[in-house]
Amino acid sequence: MSESQQLIKKEPPKGRGLWKDGARSLRRRKPAMFCFGVLTLYFLLAGFIYLAEFFDWRIGPTLWAEQAGQSYAPPSSKNIFGTDIFGQSVLRKTLYGTKISITVALCASLISITIGVPLGAVAGYFRGFVDEIIVWIYSTLSSVPYILLILAFAVVLRDRTLFGYKLTGITAVYLAIGLTSWVGICRLIRGEVIKHKGREYILAAISYGCNRRRIIFRHLLPNVFHLVIIDFSLRFVAFIHAEVILSFLGLGETERPSWGAMINDARIELSRGVWWQMAAATAAIFFLSLALNIFGDALRDSLDPKLRIQ
């Protein structure tokens, strides 16, 4: 008996919870951490540009409009990435473009999460009529091809005023992408909520009279939130690529440099042998996407409860 008492007296191993475990597992993966570093750089750059514009610092990327050389000068020691038709530095334009791309992807992600997560949770939890309506809405939206939907929304939203705020081209793009991309996360959350609803901890909460809002927000959502994070990181890439496509189709940022516009210009520039604008923008997108993909994968592997056992 004293043995069993001793066993009971011993502290059970401390559970660290999904997040701490995940973070630890993530930190161990060297490539993923490297990518995280790269991502941080991009984000910091975007943030820096915002600051610089706010405080009107005339440095580096904010000076993209300055004439740095002859029209279409090839890469040289003076301009590492050459110049464009107006003699503007492609390097500066590429750096500036980070702001646009990150903003588009961030806004669109936020919009789609803000719409998708609550709708998914509500649909999954309440089922019944509410569920039917929400499922109907997103089934309709997903029956229409993605690019078409974005295009349609963007064209139609352009130039409208929303709550007194005039929608410029690029804002319409964020909205359009966000409004059409919430379906995926919604479906995901809904599925998970349905699965979790039957679990004991929820049944327990209901039995002690917890109100519904608390159940959803304090119990359910935190347990499915890791999916949101993973989806976010994977979606981000898609949004950046979408900006490129939308630029090509005539939407998107027109006043300032953006990667999409640079690649679009490359179409006619290539036939003159001017390859540097396209190379710079493609490289920028490539490294960002690569970092996001690798990091996103690692994130998923770290946060996946099934894999925690190994």
């Binding site: 029956s143 078409l148 490129v244 496509i245 690649i263 290539l270 993909n293």
Partner: protein, 312 residues
């Protein structure tokens, strides 16, 4: 089984209705007055009014039996798509564009599916080795390059500089000739993400206990893969593959624009640019119908392949 099918078909009706409502709202209410554009540069107000009358744009939007929405709905149901902005019947445009689009998307589709699934199997075979990692790296790299990058690069080097392929569609070329390069580019661009997906599915499947048991029993990797894993991995694979089919009909917007292939993707891009509401709504409607039908087919296939899934 048949009750299930009927129930599912009934389910599709609100979806189709939803799509019609969506296209109507987007392009009519929010899209602006197209009659000015149809009338042209020097048109007088009376011509504009006349056009409104002819296209039924002066009717009330919703609340009457003859409203624009009701007409829109009726037309869709009877597949009467009317004439596009340049007076050509929409149905003729669609018929014309279907051929080139399919000539483009079908080879890409087959190419991507066959190559990715095969490679995924190979990768599962050599999992954990350096080849596996290499494959993973290539996939992720491929996914990180923007689609336009593939197109520009391919068009510039393979066609323009090295002259291996025609740069652009020309009516005198045979279909195989002008489709070759875009198909190549389409496959290259699509491989990354598809291979990754299939690889993940395979590997996930291989982590299951029954696989460990099989190996413990002494079965070769080959037998395990083909006899067991493949069949179980089929479900997500089939889902993805079948659901991709409706989109084949829409052609590839980017590839067609760049290479000038006169397919449905090109038609769609143009229609959006010129606010050709008639073409856009017709094509959206058709694609939605196809999507819904193929969803149903997927579910049926699902149940046939996986005995655990019952049709309730």
């Amino acid at each position: 089984m048949s009750t299930y099918i009927i129930r599912r078909l009934l389910y599709t009706i609100p979806i189709v209705f939803g799509v019609l409502l969506l296209t109507f709202v987007l392009f009519t209410l929010v899209g602006g007055d197209i009659s000015i554009e149809i009338a042209g540069k020097g048109a007088t107000q009376e011509t504009i009014d006349e056009i409104r009358e002819e296209y039924g744009l002066n009717k009330p939007l919703f609340l009457s039996w003859d409203s624009q929405f009701v007409n829109h709905f009726k037309n869709a149901l009877t597949f009467n798509f009317g004439r596009a902005r340049d007076r050509e019947p929409v149905i003729d445009k669609i018929k014309r564009g279907l051929g080139p689009s399919l000539a483009l998307t079908v080879p890409i589709f087959f190419g991507v599916v066959i190559i990715s699934v095969s490679l995924a199997l190979v990768v599962a075979f050599v999992r954990g080795t350096v080849w596996d990692i290499l494959a993973a790296v290539i996939c992720v790299a491929g996914m990180s390059i923007p689609y336009l990058g593939f197109i520009l690069f391919g068009q510039y080097f393979l066609a323009y500089k090295w002259g291996l392929f025609p740069v652009f569609f020309s009516p005198e070329l045979t279909t195989a000739q002008y489709v070759a390069l875009p198909v190549l580019i389409g496959i290259a661009a699509g491989l990354g993400r598809n291979l990754r997906f299939f690889r993940t599915v395979m590997l996930d499947e291989m982590r299951n206990d029954y696989v460990r048991t099989a190996f413990a029993k002494g079965l070769t990797t080959r037998r395990v893969l083909f006899k067991h894993v493949l069949k179980n991995a089929m479900i997500p694979i089939i889902t993805r593959v079948v659901l991709a089919i409706p989109f084949l009909f829409l052609g590839s917007l980017l590839l067609e624009r760049f290479f000038g292939i006169p397919g449905l993707g090109y038609l769609m891009a143009e229609a959006i640019g010129s606010r050709d509401y008639f073409v856009i709504s017709a094509m959206t409607y058709i694609s939605a119908l196809l999507f819904v039908v193929f969803n149903l087919i997927t579910d049926i296939c699902y149940s046939l392949v996986d005995p655990r899934v019952s049709l309730e």
